[in-house]
Assembly symmetry: C2
Homo-oligomer: 348 residues x 2
């Protein structure tokens, strides 16, 4: 699968519109934090520089709030109904990034110093928790049954996210991890929040349960596809584009899906890979050779194929979701598809 | 004020009953966590040893869930209505302990090694967040309007707790902090959750707004009194009883209320104290001298008097709360008073 194989819809206008709709509400929510937390969050979100001065820098693509807003419109509700959902999922996403950067010891994200390197570990821990708590507040402050249901959905996805991050770190200490455990870990770490993002607008709009479930499943498959691609980029991605050092995931000993699939496939390349993974030296050549072996054992090809398969499954869920039949709802559904394609096809 | 001045009601049966009522529900909630998190939480809560083996060890007095259950009964509701509230506040309390121990670098709590020293920083961060998320789940899973209102109350108190902890750490880096800022910090760090504990049962029981507010204010004053006493014990407490090293708060450079009150009072002792606080050596004599100067400047006496004053204000809120007039409700109200007295009078 390459970007050339399929006509590629430019999703920039879709993402830009979602950002313009979400940004004021997100800034409003963050402005309610205590000054210290506002500064850590504002820096992390790219609104402030390290000295607390305003700056304009885009930060991330906003996939999660885009899904939240499009999901709202796809069930026939006005986009404003979904904005608190978009804000909440974006806050949870950024809570997890703040904590992950610290726990992984990552010093850069999007070519900027990570928050913990500037404000310290405690500020990153507290800032993350402040964003998590704020996400719940944004939904619960609606004071509606739908708001409470959305908070419940978000809380469950946050619990899965924490479980996934726990497994991710624990797997680093293991020589190999069964493929199904790695897939479950990816589902928790990444797909849970993307699933909640896709479904939260429908929950806020009071859509029927089967529609919420289908959007949730759409997001679950999309999230898995997203993580599969992320794992590919973590090994074979261009550092200039990913913002991560070359071979970063292999250096960290992450049991990502291509690694696990390669080991699972067996054969001489897998055996040599297993031997190399057990070593403790830090030489570039070792990690470069690991990448070759993962590919030789079929781990790269499996991951690409699995990402495609998950994207197809996501599309099937969307088609059967019973979404609304107004012009804007149909358009939003098409846009959900386009965003899903974009998320998975970036750099494949 | 000394323990001898007033007849002291033995609150052990009250605390024991609350523990017996809360413990099964708390264990049930924690059992739903992923295995790794369950182990960190189980260790932290004193249920498991460092190897994950079951052990029986009491952990903390359970003040917060006791307040939650008594608050429920004081408004005339059955105690079972309040149990999810008790579980939730206890989970939030333990989330904050897990994170605080890590951020403060404390290696022992209740004469046991703290969780981060055994499981590592990341496990403590993730374990804390898992408990925070679980607290929200326990309330939102009730699926009721009252459950959502209780979750909203708890979320607001958690946000204040995080703000208070942020200020607490930031104050350590400042030479002196105005007394009113220290009081606000203590209100956020400690009183917010005790206030939520006192009010959450009434919220779950659907009690009228003025009753919820009065119980909340009762808890706010009680929480401030609690922190004032805690600050006294952090300087003059017996390590065997507090489980903290002697003069621990002074060693950490904490701007606790006795310190701030002493500096605020002015005079020669306050001046000498300010000079000593600015030093960076780690000698025991320096911290012992600081404790003397805090006392000489009136910081100890002010703190004792302020704790008494806050306890009185708490009692006034309880008296005017419009609580229920059944025999059990009146008894529960008396028990709330007794627990409040106990919390403030321990070791004074």
């Amino acid at each position: 699968m390459t970007a050339e194989m399929l006509p590629h819809r430019d999703v920039t206008p879709i993402l830009d519109r979602a950002r313009e709709l979400t940004d004021p509400a997100l800034r409003h929510a963050v402005s309610g934090l205590a000054p210290q937390m506002r500064r850590v969050a504002g820096y992390h979100l790219g609104w402030l520089d390290a000295n607390g001065e305003e700056q304009s820098s885009s930060h991330g693509k906003g996939i999660r709030y885009t899904l939240a807003l499009l999901g709202t419109e796809a069930v026939g509700a006005p986009v404003t109904t979904g904005i608190p959902g978009g804000v909440a999922v974006e806050l949870i996403h950024n809570f997890s990034l703040l904590h992950d950067d610290l726990m992984d010891g990552d010093k850069e994200r999007h070519h900027r110093a990570t928050a913990w390197t500037i404000f310290g570990s405690s500020a990153a821990i507290l800032g993350g928790v402040a964003l998590l708590t704020l996400a719940e507040e944004v939904l619960l402050d609606l004071g509606t049954e739908a708001g409470a249901a959305a908070a419940a959905l978000l809380t469950k996805s946050t619990a899965r996210l924490v479980t996934g991050q726990t497994d991710d770190l624990e797997f680093e200490t293991r020589a190999s991890v069964p493929l199904d455990e790695c897939i479950r870990m990816a589902g928790n770490k990444t797909a849970a929040l993307i699933s909640a993002s896709a479904a939260i607008g429908a929950v806020l709009a009071g859509a029927p349960a089967h529609t919420v479930t289908a959007l949730s499943e759409f997001g679950e498959h999309l999230g898995l596809a997203f993580q599969l691609v992320d794992d590919l980029l973590g090994i074979w991605g261009t550092p200039e584009l990913t913002g991560k050092p070359v071979l970063a995931d292999l250096r960290a000993g992450k049991k990502t899906l291509p690694v696990s699939a390669a080991l699972h496939a067996g054969g001489p390349a897998a055996d040599e890979l297993a031997t190399l993974l057990a070593e403790t030296n830090d030489e570039h050549d070792r990690f470069a050779r690991e990448a070759e072996l993962i590919e030789a054992a079929g781990g790269r090809q499996w991951t690409i194929a699995e990402a495609e398969r998950q994207l197809t499954l996501a599309g099937q869920q969307l088609a059967g979701a019973g979404l609304a039949d107004t012009p804007r709802a149909r358009q939003a559904t098409d846009e959900l598809s386009a965003v899903a394609d974009f998320v998975v096809r970036r750099q494949l």
